[in-house]
Structure formats: C-alpha cells, structure tokens
C-alpha cells in the first residue's frame, strides 16, 4: 500500500453539519435573490415600460385630443390611463397627493365644460369627478394613518386637500349659477363630493381672490400645521385601488408634469 495515493474523505459529522448549514442558508439566500430580481422588475422595469408608454402617447400626437376629451369620448380612456401612469411614477406621498389633486382638478374642469357645452355628458362627468375626489381623499386618509409619516408630510397633505376644497367649492358654486336646469342635479351631487374634500377640523381658510379666480391652478402645499382630519369619505363610488396607496420615497418630492395638460 505504500505506493498508493491516499484519497482523504471528509468526516461524516462535518458533512452533515455543513449540509444543514447550507440548507438553512439556502432557504433565505436563494429566495432573497428572487426578491431582488422581483424588486428590480417592479421597481425599475415596470416604471420603464410605463415611461415608454407615456412617451409614445405624447409623441403619437394623441395627447392633445386626449386632453380635450370628456368622459364618454374615446380618447378619455387614454387620458385617464396616462394619469394612472403618472401615479405609477409618483414615489413620494406628497407628489402623489398633488397628482391626485390635479386629477380631481381635471375632472372638475371637464365637468365645467360638460355643463356649459355638452350637458348630455354632465352626468358621466359628475361620476368621474366623484371618483377622482374619492381617490384623492382616500390617499389623504391613507397618508394620515400611515405609521412613520412625518409631520411635514401630513401638514402638506392637509394643505393640499384644504386648498382643493376651497377651490372646488368656489367653482361648483359658480357653475350652479349658470348651469341649465338639467345639469343641476349632477352639480348637486358633485357639490356633495366636494364637501368630502374638507380635509381638517380646523377653520376653513378664507380663499384668496387669486384662488377663486383661477380654478385650474393646482393647490400647492404650504407649511401650516393643521390638526389631523378624522372624517372618512361618506360615500364611496369606487373603492380606491390597492395600487394607488401612497408610496413612500423621501428622495423624491417634486410633482411631475402632466402630459394631459
């Protein structure tokens, strides 16, 4: 045997122990890699596809037609789809709230146009407006109940919703004065929805003349600190989608430009 090469073997206890250790690590290490990939897909690929879709929408010249569309028009779906894509890019709660506020503004402007130029579209425009308001207030409520949300974010949210409330009330009051009789019911419903925008228990701010005279301007957050609002939306026309819950990303706060405007 002296002229043979030995073939050393590992000890059995060592092999068993190492195997157990590897299996314990594998259950987390291998899954973690999948999660990293999933995060990559969700975090980067999906928004990238969304960005490409927005670019196609704008480059394709459909943006203008979509922006001018009213509820019921073929291009209206395109407009709302673009808005959803914008929301998908809003990684910051405040940005998201501002976007939802802007969408409610758009629906209000469409309602105004429908009442004055196409009363037959007023009903569906009212429905769309109500949906936008519900989503907006639901996002505010979600942010308010979110553990770890900073006081600044909460304050900004309250300011956005307060400003929207004042503006929408003013616009709807003005519309009711000049709308035809057949549109009054729809406007009454819209007014009820707008009341849900009363964001806080603090005394309502007196609207500045500029705010009253410029209903298309989006509300901007200020730094005042209102108490937290406790009222929930009284009626839900369409439940807010899970994908619309505010997402937190403190690195991004600037609102994105709307391709539909």
């Amino acid at each position: 045997m002296s002229d043979m090469l030995p073939r050393p073997e590992p000890r059995e206890p060592f092999k068993r122990a190492l195997r157990s250790q590897l299996m314990a690590q594998a259950s987390t290490a291998l899954v973690r890699r999948e999660t990293v990939w999933s995060r990559f897909q969700v975090g980067l690929l999906r928004p990238a596809v969304a960005l490409a879709a927005i670019a196609l929408l704008l480059v394709g010249g459909a943006g203008k037609a979509a922006a001018d569309s009213l509820s019921g028009d073929p291009a209206f779906g395109l407009k709302t789809a673009a808005e959803q894509l914008q929301l998908a890019f809003a990684f910051d709660d405040t940005t998201r709230l501002v976007l939802l506020s802007e969408q409610a503004d758009h629906r209000l402007a469409e309602l105004s146009r429908a009442v004055t130029t196409r009363p037959s579209a007023a009903r569906s425009a009212t429905d769309e407006y109500a949906i936008a308001v519900v989503r907006f207030t639901a996002a505010v409520d979600a942010l308010r109940g979110k553990p770890g949300a900073s006081a600044d974010k909460r304050t900004a949210a309250e300011d956005v919703v307060d400003a929207a409330h004042l503006k929408h009330e003013a616009v709807l009051d003005e519309l009711r004065k000049r709308a035809p009789a057949e549109a009054q019911d729809g406007l009454e419903r819209a007014k009820l929805e707008a009341d849900k925008l009363h964001a806080s228990d603090r005394p309502a701010r007196t609207p500045e003349p500029a705010e009253r005279s410029d209903p298309t301007r989006s509300p901007q957050p200020t730094r005042s600190a209102p108490p937290a609002r406790t009222t929930e939306p009284a009626r839900t026309i369409e439940p807010p989608r899970a994908s619309e819950q505010p997402r937190s990303d403190p690195t991004r706060t600037a609102p994105r430009p709307s391709p539909t405007r």
């Binding site: 043979m4 030995p6 073997e9 060592f14 590897l22 690590q25 594998a26 890699r33």
Partner: protein, 201 residues
Amino acid sequence: MDRPPNSHSHEPVIPAERDEDAVLARRAGAGEAEAFGALYDRYVDQVYRYVYYRVRNEAEAEDVTSDVFMRALRAIPRYEPRQAFLAWLYRIARNAVIDRSRRQQARPQVSFEDALAHPMGDRTVDPNTELLAGSDATAVRAALRKLTALQQEIIVLRYVEGFDTKTISKITGKRDGTIRGIEFRALKELRALIPSRESLS
C-alpha cells in the same frame, strides 16, 4: 497518458451526469434548496479532497470546503449551464484556496506530505502510472514537495481525481496545452526525484 490513471469509482463526470448537474443547478438557482443539497451530496467529497491536498490540514480543509459551498450557494443563481458544473465548482474551490493562502501568507500553501498523512487517507487508489506505482510513498511525498503549487495541483487533479486535461484546463483557467506541459514537466521532475521500485528494494 491520455486517460487519467485513476481507476477509482470517482470517474470523471460523464455527459448524463453533467446534464443532471445542469438541471439541479438550474433548479437550485431558481430557489430550490434541495436541488443544491443534491449537488452538495454529489460533490462534497471531491471538493474536500481537492482542498485538502492544497491546504495544511484537516481543520483547514473543512473550513475551506465550507467556504466553497457557501460561495457556490451565493453564486448559483448566476451559474451558466453551458459550463460544466463540476469545473465551475472547482474554480470556486481553487479561488477559495488562493484567497485562503493570501490571508495566510506566512504559512506554506501546499503540503502534499501532510495530505498523504491524512487520518482518513487509508482509502487509497492505485495509480496506473508506472512512475507512481513503482515508487515508495515516502519518496513520492518528498518529491512532490519539491514541485510548484500548480504542478502539485495538476498532479492531484489528474492522478487523484482522475480528470482529463480539458477539465483541469477549465478548473485552473490554463490552456489545455499548458496543462499538458506542466504535467509533463512535473512527471519528468518526479522521475528524476523518485527512485525506482527496484532501487528501493
């Protein structure tokens, strides 16, 4: 010497096993822990043996073997099935040994003599080569100690594990011809260093 002289049951991996390896590796990379466990069961002995011949002792060999499989576990989602799994695994083992020796520069990297004295080393293989078969183990040990680390590595892979030069080429990252050249020079040195059986007797 076209065929490895090792006639032990641990033959070089045959194509069917390579396919199985690839399937297991793909499943492991997709998160199936048991598939990785199967690969471990299949190759832990070979990896350990390779590592053992390149480090000082049993404890270190176990340490490095653990490191090798931990590295493999982390890397397996990136494993490319076109590459033979065992060659891929040996490369990880080789890198682990190199990293280990860098960390322990004060210590000799390879001690073939120690390897021959392994407590479990009584499980042996008959080398078919005239050179090794006709020599005393003590003389072989003494001669092998005088080879370079790469020469020793190639001798172990070739004559203990029974790999062909193509596989050794993949493991070491050297060209096939280079491996043959190193092996040829190593054997030539051994011939000069190791007395024949007749002279020993």
